[in-house]
Symmetry: C2
Subunit: 182 residues, 2 copies
């Protein structure tokens, strides 16, 4: 059955390792998965005083219609980038009610360091749990020393990570499939 | 001795409880403390590809010349607001070297909930430790049920919190004083 997956790419860098990781992961999803990329960089800082701009309406529409959210996070100063936190805060404030509650999600991350976004993933998983998402927690995907392993346009020279990512894609696909079948 | 303290106010709301908390706290600092407010809302999302805008230069100058940073954080979805994380990420990337390393800092927070920014303070304290700030950790200031206690323009109807805040201001003042005396 067709599934819509929405990718959140936490780095705005053109040569981002997390964008490259998305390129790899998107090729691993089953054929009836349709990918979209969440448009998060044009969202202003969340401010309850502000009338939601058109970018927020568009973004809410994207999140609502997704069957699953897939987060690719770098690690900035031991936590997630602001652009990612801001997107989650906007998503949770959808005036139609938070579309995050009960929606499946997974987290992946790549960094140049030896710990591969360990700290930022801990924060992100806490935040996603708080907003009520159904996290598919296993396997964990933490790509360390990304500059040695990830090539632009979807090549990952790390057989263990490749295997884990395939399993994660399958696990998410099955979780969403069970929800859609109900 | 004159000290320059730089306030980071994590909520952009006009009627923000954390801005009201700043109004209260700023009145508690010793007379030779000069307050400034960090200009963080005009900073774009941090992006290493981007040439730093004038707002970043101005902000770096503010952080460099501060003797201490004072963070007022709300709690959004169990963590800190994006505008605060973004400011910390910009600050740490000052091309002259991070001005955060070794600089004293304190954290305060107010929220309408019963736990008074407990979760966001945990994340914020981890991030500030990561960037090498010298956190004055005690006493903790978590103002719960802020809508019942905080009035605009600097009135806090919570004698315990008032006492803790006075102690925190004094502890920060002494910590900075010792550093400036060396």
């Amino acid at each position: 059955m067709r599934q819509e997956w929405l990718a959140f790419i936490g780095s705005l860098r053109k040569g981002s390792y997390n964008r490259a990781l998305f390129d790899v992961f998107s090729g691993m999803a089953p054929a009836d998965v349709v990918w979209h990329e969440a448009e998060i960089r044009a969202l202003p800082f969340y401010n309850p005083d502000m009338a939601p701009p058109p970018e927020a309406d568009h973004f809410w529409q994207q999140v609502r219609s997704a069957d699953a959210l897939v987060f690719f996070t770098p690690e900035y100063n031991g936590s997630i980038p602001a652009v990612l936190k801001n997107a989650i805060d906007w998503a949770s404030r959808d005036p139609q009610g938070s579309p995050l509650v009960g929606k499946p999600a997974v987290v992946l991350g790549a960094s140049q360091g030896l710990f591969g976004t360990l700290r930022s993933q801990l924060h992100l998983r806490q935040i996603l749990s708080f907003v009520g998402m159904e996290l598919v927690q296993r396997p964990e995907v933490l790509v360390s020393e990304a500059h040695l392993k990830l090539e632009p346009r979807g090549q990952l020279n790390d057989p263990v990570a490749v295997r884990l990512m395939k399993t994660l894609a399958q696990n998410l696909y099955e979780r969403v499939g069970r929800m859609l079948a109900v």
